[in-house]
Symmetry: C2
Subunit: 214 residues, 2 copies
């Protein structure tokens, strides 16, 4: 029986951050498909039972339900003893990057992809330009940081890497960003993560239905 | 001599979250004014020395520099023994809310205020409408949660409350949101926080220059 159940759908990069962690730690897990595109996360019953914040991922483990990808990653680092900080300084460094990711890095990148590819109607050009400006600044900060380090904390991958890189594994056709040409340090870092044993791409790791439901 | 130095400016609600924590814990602290409105946080020298992420707050304590308000709040809860989680479950609950705050609650509310009041040029109407839609959803989630609890975790205020409430203490003229009429549970919760001993409003706690520099 699976130790972990992950409420998820393949298009959610925040769910993918957790799926990737479960894969890379060789954890026994199974997905619970959430049918986002027909409104499941907006259903009051789902919110009351699974997540009041109306979001995936939700991780079930030993009768407990955990939400928020950053918190789940931290819990999994503790449970598995992998990809966490080795001391107080490293743990703070990890949180610093995960918070930056939630506040700035994933948030604008993910919203831009969503409004570009999945939303109906698509994002207004002014909104897309606003998001693109923020994304450019945030990509620049991470590119600079990764220029002389293989991973965010240095030589070793941590949950901070899994959090920030989560959305970078979706196809260019969805994100609109080809980082190979514009941000080589970020692209090389994502490649290093994808070469870790057990790694799977988002659409291999999690179940999906067609993006736009009938 | 002050135990803590906080790099901040009064208009930053993320800096204010930390200033509020320092005030409420009776910590000896002094502000280091960051002249955001003339571009200090975009200066490469400032980024190299103070914060590569280009943001306040930055807290100096015993030779260490901490960044990201959520991480600083967590560190201060540990250092002061106040407003933190009492067990693993509470600590996870706190992180869950702080992550939600960074990803959703503060981020859209603060950006909306910024583009409405301080940015030049002001935000495009389509961008403002986009942000307002997100804000409405997030306010609804918190309003529902606070309907039957005085604080986010229950009877006792924690750093989660200080994080989410930070931007709610700015004047309606800046935020454009009068929550007294639209979100009474949130407004009452903010009032409860402002009644805690030591509390000061943002423009009392931190230094400011005129918002728009000459």
């Amino acid at each position: 029986m699976a130790d972990f159940k992950l409420h998820c759908f393949a298009q959610s990069g925040n769910a993918y951050k957790v799926a990737m962690m479960l894969d890379l730690t060789g954890s026994a897990w199974e997905p619970v498909f959430v049918d986002y595109f027909v409104g499941q996360t907006r259903d009051p019953a789902w919110r009351a039972e699974v997540s009041e914040m109306g979001e995936v991922p939700v991780l079930e483990h030993r009768g407990e339900r955990l939400t928020q990808s950053g918190m789940i990653l931290d819990a999994l680092a503790e449970i598995t003893g992998r990809f966490g900080g080795r001391d107080a300084r490293e743990r703070r460094e990890i949180w610093r990057w995960i918070l930056f990711d939630n506040h700035k890095f994933t948030s604008y990148f993910a919203t831009h992809r969503w409004l570009r590819t999945f939303a109906e109607p698509k994002g207004h050009p002014e909104v897309m330009a606003f998001l693109a400006g923020r994304i450019s600044n945030n990509l620049g900060i991470v590119e600079r940081h990764l220029k002389d380090r293989p991973f965010l904390l240095g030589d070793r991958p941590t949950i901070a890497d899994l959090s920030l890189a989560g959305y970078l594994f979706y196809p260019v056709e969805e994100t609109g960003y080809d980082l190979d040409t514009t941000h080589p340090a970020i692209a090389a870092w994502a490649d290093r993560i994808s070469e870790l044993p057990g790694w799977r791409a988002p659409y291999e790791a999690m179940p999906a239905r067609a993006a736009v439901a009938a």
